[in-house]
């Protein structure tokens, strides 16, 4: 107040009715909008990755099981754990909010909480309900503010123009520097491990990349997957779909980092790193089919000291990886190195040996303590639409095998592929290469039942097919392979798909016959699924075995109703390399337990 105010007191009256500057009730004042107060967590969004716990420099966070609360459940991609915060330790730094992989964690601007029991100041945000759970204000990670890089390090690849006229491998592999940067994006939470069918120790081997300890990395790979080089190139990488980093960015390139490890260790070192097999047990096991399931079983059993004989109808091992997957995705020498390694454990290979023709199942049963049937899915299914028995209507698996067997196929000038899975993409892209080489131009139409958002193929396959000038049409149902009077194939007639499944979820496509198209093609190739050639088993064994809708019935461990016979791989689980590897491990463990029990009986 100035002297004048004192002298003329009325002058001060004008302030009389103004709001006071001081706060009436300082105890109930809202904190500033971005104040860092008690935490909030959207527990449906949170995946329980524990990255918040790992970053907290005060050790204020625990991860606790909350299964059952508000639909939270331990399942692929969600640990079912949620962070609990101890406010006796928290310093409100918000590092946990800044790092949160899903953006579920934030802080309200609530800052007042009076309580007599100190243990109350430890709670699970979002689970233990608080009145600030729905506060609008508080600290949220600012837009664009990230502690970890959201984008994947790009993989060097051949451009479409460079790759279209050859079967050269497309993917180049990371350099050490690129791999380290990519590995650095991984928060090593391990959420992905449960999703990997063979549960590879993913965070551990990614850490090995980060540390540059490739030999340790390789050991981790081969202890869980003897097809690591192959999976490093063509795995369906289910793990990446549940990666914590995928919620707010690209998933870690788990597959490429696996590949990187296998490329950094000189192949001559592999055997020493993996180690010697155990002493011979005297037991002998026969395996029919040298694909991933059979060879994984062989690898595990041989390492345990059992004698393993593998019978293979083809001239090379690898199964569908050798005869089904095109070379531009998986070169021969990668497969051969993998097989050599497995064989070096003492596995005996019998190539060009067909069950039923060259040796019988009965003979195998007689000569061995256990037999594994892992013959895969080599017979292509047919659409059975009219005209599909024409000589120029092919099965994708047959063509792929002929190409990989080195046969010089004469590519047709135009061609239609039926199917929307990876096999359809494989044959379309292989034939595109042959067309380019032989005719200088590509004319391939791929028709799939599914709409674009439900394609079964890997999105990368679809993208690269389009880059390679394959015309992809979705929601088209095959009606007829059209043949003219001279018995020439003209192409495929399709209708637009209404729906694929009926209300009971059964496969029963319905069509809109008003939307008809004819796709020109000298060939039509069916890539709609495969079956197993179980005829080789012979009548007697077929009669004895239990069956389930055309598949051999097996128990959890892959054992059939015949106590000496196991079955594994695609023929049991459906087509997928890494599932076949997991199945091989399971089968080997079951057989090993069986053989150990035999030993015990003998000793008793």
């Amino acid at each position: 107040m100035s002297v004048r105010d004192v002298l003329s007191p009325f002058a001060a009256w004008k302030h009389l009715f103004r709001d006071p500057v001081s706060i009436k009730d300082p105890f109930n004042r809202e904190a500033s909008e971005r104040y860092r107060g008690f935490h909030q967590n959207d527990i449906e969004k949170c995946i329980g990755c524990g990255t918040c716990e790992a970053i907290c420099q005060n050790g204020a966070i625990d991860m606790l099981p909350v299964s059952g609360v508000d639909g939270v459940q331990t399942r692929p991609g969600d640990s079912g754990l949620r962070p609990r915060i101890d406010y006796g330790r928290c310093c409100w730094c918000a590092l946990c909010v800044d790092v949160c992989m899903t953006g579920s964690l934030s802080m309200s601007n609530a800052y007042k909480w009076v309580e007599a029991d100190p243990d109350k100041f430890r709670y699970i945000p979002g689970v233990d309900k608080k009145h600030w759970d729905d506060y609008e204000h508080g600290y949220r990670r600012p837009e664009g503010h990230r502690l970890n890089a959201p984008e994947r390090i790009e993989m060097p690849e051949l451009e479409p123009g460079e790759r279209i006229d050859s079967f050269a491998e497309i993917v180049g592999g990371y350099s050490v520097e690129q791999a380290r940067l990519e590995a650095d994006r991984c928060v090593t939470c391990g959420i992905c491990v449960a999703t990997c069918p063979t549960h590879m120790p993913i965070p551990e081997y990614i850490s090995a990349v980060r540390d540059g300890d490739y030999e340790a990395g390789l050991k981790l790979l081969y202890d869980s997957n003897p097809f690591s080089q192959i999976c490093g190139k063509i795995c369906t990488r289910r793990c990446e779909t549940t990666c914590a980093a995928s919620h707010e960015g690209d998933p870690i390139a788990i597959r490429w980092l696996k590949r990187h490890i296998t490329e950094q260790v000189p192949f001559e070192r592999y055997r020493a790193i993996i180690g010697e097999p155990a002493a011979a047990t005297g037991h002998s096991v026969a395996i029919v089919g040298a694909g991933p399931a059979g060879m994984t079983t062989a690898f595990d059993l041989a390492r345990l000291g059992h004698k393993v004989h593998v019978y293979e109808a083809q001239s090379h091992a690898g199964g569908m990886t050798r005869y089904g997957i095109p070379e531009y995705r998986l070169p021969f020498d990668t497969i051969q190195r993998e097989i050599d390694l497995i064989v070096s454990m003492g596995v005996e290979m019998h190539y060009n040996t067909r069950i039923g023709a060259d040796i019988s199942m009965a003979q195998l049963q007689q000569d061995h303590d256990a037999v594994v049937l892992s013959i895969g899915l080599w017979l292509g299914r047919s659409t059975r639409v009219p005209g599909s028995d024409h000589r120029n209507v092919y099965k994708a698996v047959d063509l792929l095998r002929r190409i990989r067997d080195g046969e010089q196929l004469q590519a047709p000038k135009s061609m239609v592929v039926i199917g929307g899975g990876n096999v359809a993409m494989d044959i379309a892209r292989s034939m595109a290469r042959l067309q380019q080489q032989q005719h200088g131009q590509i004319a391939i139409t791929l028709t799939a039942l599914e709409d674009k958002s439900h394609f079964l193929a890997d999105p990368v396959e679809i993208k690269e097919s389009i880059e390679e000038q394959v015309t992809i049409l979705d929601s088209r149902g095959p009606q007829e392979c059209m043949v003219d009077d001279q018995d020439n194939l003209l192409g495929l007639r399709t209708w637009r798909v209404h729906s694929i499944f009926d209300e009971n979820g059964r496969f029963a496509p319905s069509y809109d016959d008003g939307d008809e198209m004819v796709h020109e093609g000298e060939w039509v190739v069916e890539a709609i699924g495969q079956m197993s050639d179980v005829a080789i088993l012979g009548d007697e064994l077929t009669e004895k075995l239990d069956w389930n809708r055309g598949r051999i019935q097996v128990d959890e461990d892959g054992r059939t109703s015949e106590s000496w016979l196991w079955s594994a791989g695609d023929m049991v689980r459906g087509p997928d390399v890494v599932h076949a590897v997991a199945d091989g491990h399971r089968t080997a463990r079951s057989i090993h337990a069986h053989l150990s029990a035999l030993d015990k009986q003998e000793n008793a």
């Binding site: 420099q57 050790g59 991860m63 606790l64 079912g80 006796g88 243990d119 959420i191 449960a194 069918p197």
Partner: protein, 180 residues
């Protein structure tokens, strides 16, 4: 504006890297010997009369501390940051409190948080904010905050935690394999 300043400076001083961030903000790197003459020159001849701050960064990978002296030229509304690289194993630095008295406070903070010493700087060895600190200076990157917190502040009883991958294995595939 900053480029011409740099051109003038580089004839007199042996300057390292120059980075112009904005039209009114740039950084130069200087050697320890030339720090003082450069600061004096900037203050008395170029109009950078105000020391905005003095701070440090620990580049532990390169075995150096980076000191940054940020100066402001009020009249022309521009800033210059003078950087100086100090080896991590020789952390004695010349005090500039006689150029700007406020420097003494920054130097006292740097002494406490990074262990960078400024002999002769007033009260430099007195506790600043860390009363009774016994560990290594906490802004040095080798300081393990979590370990310090664990050792210094005892846990309340009743804590437990779970590793996500291990917990998921227990719940989803306890025998090592699932049947998916």
């Amino acid at each position: 504006m900053m480029q011409s300043l740099y051109d003038r400076l580089k004839d007199r001083f042996n300057l390292g890297e120059f980075t112009g961030r904005r039209a009114d903000l740039a950084f130069v790197t200087v050697s320890r010997e030339q720090l003082r003459p450069l600061l004096l020159h900037l203050r008395d001849l170029e109009g950078f009369t105000h020391l905005v701050l003095l701070t440090a960064v620990d580049w532990i990978e390169d075995d150096t501390f980076q000191l940054t002296y940020l100066l402001n030229d009020r009249a022309r509304a521009r800033d210059i940051g003078v950087r100086l690289m100090l080896p991590r194993d020789d952390t004695q630095m010349d005090s500039i409190h006689d150029l700007w008295p406020t420097a003494a406070t920054y130097q006292r903070e740097l002494r406490e948080m990074f262990g960078i010493d400024f002999p002769d700087s007033p009260r430099v060895n007195e506790d600043f904010i860390l009363e009774g600190w016994v560990d290594i200076p906490p802004y040095r990157r080798e300081f393990d905050t979590l370990r310090f917190a664990r050792e210094t502040y005892p846990e309340r009883p009743g804590r437990e935690t779970h590793d996500p991958a291990t917990y998921m294995k227990q719940q989803l595939y306890p025998d090592g394999e699932d049947n998916g």
